[in-house]
């Protein structure tokens, strides 16, 4: 992973995209840091009732206003961010681990195993993600862990497909022929030659997955099947804000904004990293 990251940096520099990728990256870092450290320094613990008047709009004391129980909305958003980001990150990691193993296994052993694994991908992907997530959380009690696993597993076939197609085209590359001819075993070939070439596009995939995961969690929470109160994620805050929309529009606007900003940054980042990796396409 570290190697992949240095490569990202290197390629980004080469393409002069670093500056453009920097803005969303910085915003994301600020959001993550605020969620991690903000609650530690906030004067209002997220679970302290009545630190302000209920349904107060934004003010100097409470930047995002307060909710129906008079809690500080900013603190709630930051604490909610911890859960949203944890779910997003966890699901992304799971999807990458499972997806890479799945895709490499398929690409490495062509033939019927490949067919089988890819058809399994098709089967999972034939069920729209949101519907599948709905089925899963109907069966398992929604919690941070279960959402992480469910969302992660749901995204893994897409990742697996992507890994497989990259790996297959890598396997057709001359360096693989050369490595094979120089006597590498199949497994070593996949792990030490092909895998490092798959990781950089995986960084792009990871940002996309992260955006998808946060979106899916928010959507599930919005229909009431995601993170359950009193645990709050951005999605549940948004749901509560929506329920109190006519009492205090702020409760809706701020969680919505933070979700959109985070997702937009992830999308832009993946976009720009993606174009950084497309070094081959030089226009003349």
């Amino acid at each position: 992973m570290a190697e992949a990251l240095t490569l990202v940096k290197e390629q980004a520099r080469a393409q002069g995209v670093r500056r453009r990728a920097l803005i969303p990256a910085i915003i994301l870092i600020v959001i993550v840091a605020a969620c991690v450290f903000g609650p530690l320094v906030s004067p209002y613990p997220a679970d302290a009732l009545g630190v302000g008047l209920p349904f107060a709009g934004p003010s100097w004391a409470h930047w995002f206003g307060t909710d129906d129980l008079g809690r500080d909305l900013l603190s709630l958003v930051l604490v909610g961010g911890q859960i949203s980001l944890t779910v997003g990150l966890g699901a992304t990691l799971i999807s990458l681990l499972v997806g890479i193993a799945w895709g490499i296994a398929a690409a490495g052993r062509r033939g019927w195993i490949d067919t089988l694994l890819m058809r399994l991908c098709d089967a999972v992907m034939a069920i729209p993600q949101l519907l599948f997530a709905l089925v899963c959380v109907a069966a398992f009690r929604p919690s941070v862990i279960s959402l992480m696993i469910v969302i992660g597993l749901l995204m893994s076939p897409t990742t697996a497909r992507m890994v497989r197609s990259t790996a297959v085209s890598e396997l057709a590359d001359d360096y693989v022929v050369a490595a094979t001819a120089s006597g590498l075993t199949r497994r070593r070939l996949l792990v030490s030659e092909v895998l490092p070439n798959i990781l950089p596009p995986m960084v792009v995939q990871a940002t996309t997955n992260m955006a998808d995961a946060i979106m899916l969690e928010a959507t599930l929470s919005f229909v009431g099947l995601g993170i359950q109160p009193p645990d709050a994620s951005w999605g549940t805050l948004l749901l509560q804000g929506y329920a109190k929309m006519y009492n205090s529009i702020w409760m809706l606007i701020f969680p919505a904004l933070i979700i959109v900003v985070t997702l937009a940054c992830l999308v832009l980042l993946s976009d720009r990293l993606g174009s950084a990796f497309d070094g081959k396409k030089v226009m003349r």
Binding site: D47, D68, R141, G224, P229, M245
Partner: protein
């Protein structure tokens, strides 16, 4: 902010009734959601019904009498009535319907109320006779929920229901919409609305949005948080029951520790900041229950004298908890349903207060099925859980206080004294004697604290002001039988 209403309402415009749950099926015996109590009286008649004041009134029955022991009741019916398909609606139809409700296979929520009935017979086309297993002075009130159906048409009830009420069904999409049109064969006063659509709204906000925009006419269960935003809107009127008809009930497992100790239950009652809960969780809609009883202060059967007042008192709560072995550092669980924001708000208030006396309250919100799995049906053990719930409280204690009978309540409270007081009261025809028995039972409830009842509240419906004649029954059900534009 809500603006002016498009008021070109002709009587041809359908009245749209919105609620957060859809209607899954049309068999009135199998009632799933309280919302259906608004639909079924429009479609099917009962023998008796409640009026706005909570008194039992004639419906399809014109009169009724009992023997002095209240073990046999005779009902006289309207002659010449018809079902919506034109077939005869007579005593035999009533007997068939009751027999269906009484069959053990029929999963009906009315079963408890009908449990004293031994047999039902029809000596002639307009007379129905009930033989009871035990004396029951309140039978006419107990059978209001039985809707007279054409049993021969039961199998097609979801596709082409034969009705006995003022309306019939013209279209039905399960869980989404039911469209009603007048039943020309109805024996009573003709229906006044040309079309009623019962429809499912996604959530309370979507519902109130549609109410504001005029896309729905009636919103059955208005969220407490929306009440204040609508109360100043002239195009919307709020409909409330005459009395507070919903008791907030927190259920505890009184058969396992720590709540098998009455002191722990009392401690919890003292630790409950009823005012804060009323104001914050219920937006001030209702009244606090200082005596922690089912019957609200405004109920004529309720008698405060001699009852313990559970004022908010953390010190007292702490010492009572300590006596019951619940000491600092102990953990209790608030078992809530995610569909009810007020439950979670109440839980958070409890959590904050209990923290002050060193008790952790873990809040768990669940979807409805998970929530009910934990404690339902009665007899399950759930030590340390506080389960939020609510009960409809019709003004007649026979249909509210029955919840605490042995084996009934999921709190597993079994008090033979309470049961015998209750049963005696039900069998007693003399009002004074009956009242004394109710009071005795209530006293037990007050001191034993089988449930925590912080607040009595009331369901509120919101209707476009152009619709008149909607009202809410004591048990909380909205009635549209006499609604008109």
């Amino acid at each position: 902010a809500p603006s002016t209403q498009t008021t070109s309402a002709t009587s041809n415009q359908p009245v749209v009734v919105g609620s957060s749950s859809g209607i899954p099926q049309l068999n009135p015996a199998i009632r799933t959601f309280s919302f259906e109590d608004t639909l079924f009286p429009l479609l099917w008649t009962g023998l008796t019904k409640y009026d706005q004041s909570g008194a039992v009134k004639a419906d399809f029955a014109t009169s009724w009498t009992s023997n002095p022991a209240a073990t046999e009741w005779t009902f006289k019916l309207k002659p010449g009535a018809k079902f919506s398909d034109g077939s005869a609606l007579d005593a035999q139809a009533v007997v068939d319907t009751f027999n269906y409700y009484l069959k053990p296979d029929t999963a009906t929520q009315e079963a408890n109320k009908l449990s004293t009935i031994k047999s039902v017979t029809a000596p002639d086309a307009t007379t129905v006779v009930f033989q009871l297993k035990a004396a029951n002075a309140v039978l006419p009130g107990a059978i209001t929920g039985v809707r007279i159906m054409k049993m021969a048409a039961l199998s097609t009830i979801n596709k082409d229901p034969v009705t006995s009420g003022p309306y019939k069904v013209s279209a039905f999409t399960p869980d989404n919409t039911v469209t009603l049109v007048p039943n020309k064969d109805y024996w009573g006063p003709a229906a006044q609305l040309s079309e009623i659509d019962f429809t499912k709204t996604a959530d309370s906000t979507a519902a109130s949005t549609s109410l504001r925009s005029g896309d729905i006419t009636v919103l059955v269960n208005l969220a407490h948080s929306d009440i204040s935003t609508f109360s100043s809107d002239p195009s919307i009127s709020l409909v409330k029951p005459k009395s507070l008809s919903q008791a907030v009930t927190w259920e505890l497992d009184v058969s396992s520790p720590p709540f098998n100790n009455v002191k722990a239950r009392q401690a919890l009652a003292y630790a409950t900041d009823r005012k804060a809960i009323l104001n914050t969780a219920y937006y001030g809609q209702g009244a606090v229950s200082t005596t922690n009883t089912m019957l609200a202060d405004d109920n004529p059967m309720h008698d405060k004298t001699g009852l313990i007042k559970y004022n908010f008192d953390l010190a007292k709560a702490k010492s009572l908890f300590a006596e019951a072995g619940v000491t600092s550092g102990a953990t209790l669980t608030w078992w809530s349903g995610s569909a009810f924001p007020e439950w979670q708000a109440a839980g958070q208030i409890m959590q904050a207060n209990l923290k002050k006396i060193g008790i952790n309250l873990v809040i768990q919100a669940n979807d409805t099925t998970t929530w009910s799995d934990k404690f339902y049906p009665a007899g399950k053990k759930y030590p340390g859980l506080i389960i939020s719930n609510y009960q409809s409280v019709p003004s007649n204690p026979a249909f509210s206080m029955n919840f605490l009978l042995g084996g009934r309540c999921e709190c597993n409270w079994n008090n033979s004294q309470y049961d015998s007081d209750f049963n005696k009261a039900v069998a007693t025809i003399d009002p004074k004697a009956q009242l004394a028995l109710w009071n005795a039972a209530e006293k037990l409830e007050n001191s034993e604290v089988p449930l925590i009842i912080p607040v009595q509240s009331a369901p509120v419906a919101a209707v476009q002001s152009r619709l008149k004649g909607a009202w809410i029954e004591g048990g909380g059900q909205l009635h549209l039988e006499s609604a008109h534009l």
